[in-house]
Symmetry: C2
Subunit: 497 residues, 2 copies
Amino acid sequence: MGSLDSPFPNSSEVQFHPLDPEEFRKQAHQTVDFIADYCKNIENYPVLSRVEPGYLRDCLPAAAPHEPETLETILNGVRNDIIPGMTNWLSPNFFAYFPATVSTAAFLGEMLCTSFNSVRFNWLASPAATELETIVMDWLAKLLKLPRSFMFRGTGGGLIRGTTSEAILCTLVAARDRALEKVGKDNIAKLVVYGSDQTHSTYTKACQIAGFLPSNIRSIPTLADTDFSLDPVQVMRAMKADVEAGLMPVYVCATVGTTSSTAVDPVKDLADVAERFDTWLHVDAAYAGSACICPEFRQYLDGVERADSVSISPHKWLLTYLDCCCLWVKKPSLLAKGLSIDPEYLRNKPSESKSVVDYKDWQVGVGRRFRALRLWLVLRSHGVANLQTHIWSDVRMAKALEALVAADPRFEIVVPRRFSLVCFRLNPPGKFDSVDELNRKLLDSINSTGRVYMTHTIVGGVYLLRFAVGATVTEERHVDAAWKLIKEKADALVGKI
Amino acid sequence: MGSLDSPFPNSSEVQFHPLDPEEFRKQAHQTVDFIADYCKNIENYPVLSRVEPGYLRDCLPAAAPHEPETLETILNGVRNDIIPGMTNWLSPNFFAYFPATVSTAAFLGEMLCTSFNSVRFNWLASPAATELETIVMDWLAKLLKLPRSFMFRGTGGGLIRGTTSEAILCTLVAARDRALEKVGKDNIAKLVVYGSDQTHSTYTKACQIAGFLPSNIRSIPTLADTDFSLDPVQVMRAMKADVEAGLMPVYVCATVGTTSSTAVDPVKDLADVAERFDTWLHVDAAYAGSACICPEFRQYLDGVERADSVSISPHKWLLTYLDCCCLWVKKPSLLAKGLSIDPEYLRNKPSESKSVVDYKDWQVGVGRRFRALRLWLVLRSHGVANLQTHIWSDVRMAKALEALVAADPRFEIVVPRRFSLVCFRLNPPGKFDSVDELNRKLLDSINSTGRVYMTHTIVGGVYLLRFAVGATVTEERHVDAAWKLIKEKADALVGKI
């Protein structure tokens, strides 16, 4: 029996100890210093990498080495080959997309998470990991003033996933299967889902993965008049029309803080519509949800108490590093219906007693990391007060930039700022063939310096520049310097004021 | 404009620096020592935690603290509240499920991955991260002797995902959409997928997520005679019958190393069937794939060159920590068809030039971590020679245990051992009401000591004990001690030999 009878490998193998504690200690200390130095020097690196496609293949051998290499050699490789090809998300001059925020506390949490390496598909496979996640999800729910119907202390519950995409996918499957029970399992072609033209593109992807017909994914157009928020009246009309056409509305995704311009969909009014048509209402607050730990911003979540699920991504604004998306649902049993598996090899007494949470039944996969440690360390190590401070500080810097932009007659604020994203464009008096083209050129000339990285979008047909404040180490001086650079480049393009 | 006009938070906030490099250095060093000590003392912890459901809620406050807590306080909490509730996957006495393996090298890789925190949905958002992933995937493909049709150096390519579940889900969507193009988009109810009763339970889950009808997920029964492998003749029959019934076979999942008993499905013969019916063939080698870097085991992948996709999970046996599942596909364009999104805010020149890989189009979500660093560090820091040694060493220990079990007349090997999992049961001569019950009791009595953790399964109607060798720090002495404990508990149940 077995397949390794002869020739048997030689005995040198007994020498291999991939996790010798003292070697671990030494090398991990060395790497900590490497990383601390990277953080210390972060301002010296170009934000946007300037390498050409394919650059790394020329630096590395075509195959993995047969013999070990030293840590020194490897860290030199990171320094010389990898870092020059990084777009440095940690840079204080990173104003692109939405930032992905970090903190010492979360780094330590991640180290601990990694070190335990508990797979914990079910409670028994690591009770502490499951229980800490339930507790931390309740903590964060409380901070966000979510009702008890979303909490383990109430009748709901939450979990941490990698991305909003997965959070949405899981709730879509729950909503889909609930609907299929009514209309018959082979009637998926009848089911319709709703969002706006500003809903994150991953929503469409998740709907397609879950098998909804592309033609049944409604993307309701938004208008500048309503700051590009989803209009409940239009959703109502669309649902009515679909029902009249023999289709069945099953899911609507409301966004609190859209990616293009941080638009806020009216959750309360959408809840009215969702209730009327008995559809699942999900609130995607990936970016702006974190701000709702501050009393000033909590209003944007009003109505969430009537949603079926809500997700926010602390990796965007609550300093947790990737990947940390928190999803709360009112009826975990609906998630489990579509996602539960029960193979013999995972059966155990606590699970059978139904007295524990088995998170494998709430998610796409089976295995899962101990991500709750990261969020737990962030909350404890910083405290709520500092996290609020952090949000306020970013918003204040964005406000300051907004004021600078508004004061320059060559520029205009295209969409009102709500959180820490400023949407503006160069639109000088006088004739220019294409304002869009002008802004494209402006963006290129800014980003190519490597001193600042911003991105663009198009809303309401207008090409605009997105300036997202919020990289963890950004200070006022960085925002000021960025504005100075933007003005310089504008000077070169359209002349000084 | 904006919503934070008054009252404005006080100015103490300027004091908050969540990533001060020197504070980071100090606290990270402290945490490294904490973790090194945990690793050093790992044998002193019970493998299986003995806490009761709900234990942690009594240890922690009901809400996140308002003010910061010190690292000392937090690490004490980890020591006193968390670790006692951990099932210690790192323990050398962990023989449950499949092990999740680790190494200093991968830990350092994870530290670097975390520290860069690059989100990198597309090439531009972090060129080095994308390029390193393509290179490392080619390295591993080469090690596994996968054909160039799976490599970037050839016509295919690969990526790292968190779990096999997601790898399978993405390929299922590709296969589904290819089929729907032929039969019409609203005909998902016609599509049928195939696996065996030994295929991982997550396969069924992935099929359901992708919208396949539960009644169209075929689970072909396996037999002890063929060591519980998927019978191509039966697959052929099932596909024929489905076609005759007006259905369309679209996907078959072959497993190399099933979870229950490490059965190996005959990939080559299944490829014949798949080709005949033009179905997608996926090879799930999550556990045993890693062993195929050794020449003795590569035979089990024979035929993979004719598959459409193949996945293995280095976190199971190649020391990378969670989560690291490698997926290779022959036609990345088919993945992208169902998973690609193209919002304005992510558009950029390199992507439009089609000269780069944008991994967001190969996966469920959009954001992604820089996991390739972990695998890269493992390959470079250990070298292929040591990784092979590691596989051989585990297999040798499993062989040794198998011999001990076989030599005890009270026990029997239920399924032939192929890799490092031994499937056996207590089946003593004489009368026992229920052999299954006897083994249940034996397992309970072993696990409740906290000295060893094993799990069970049922295959072919037989309840058996799974002894999976492979926790990173397991040595022969641990296997010997485990066997001694198993015998002691058997003595107590059925008497000595």
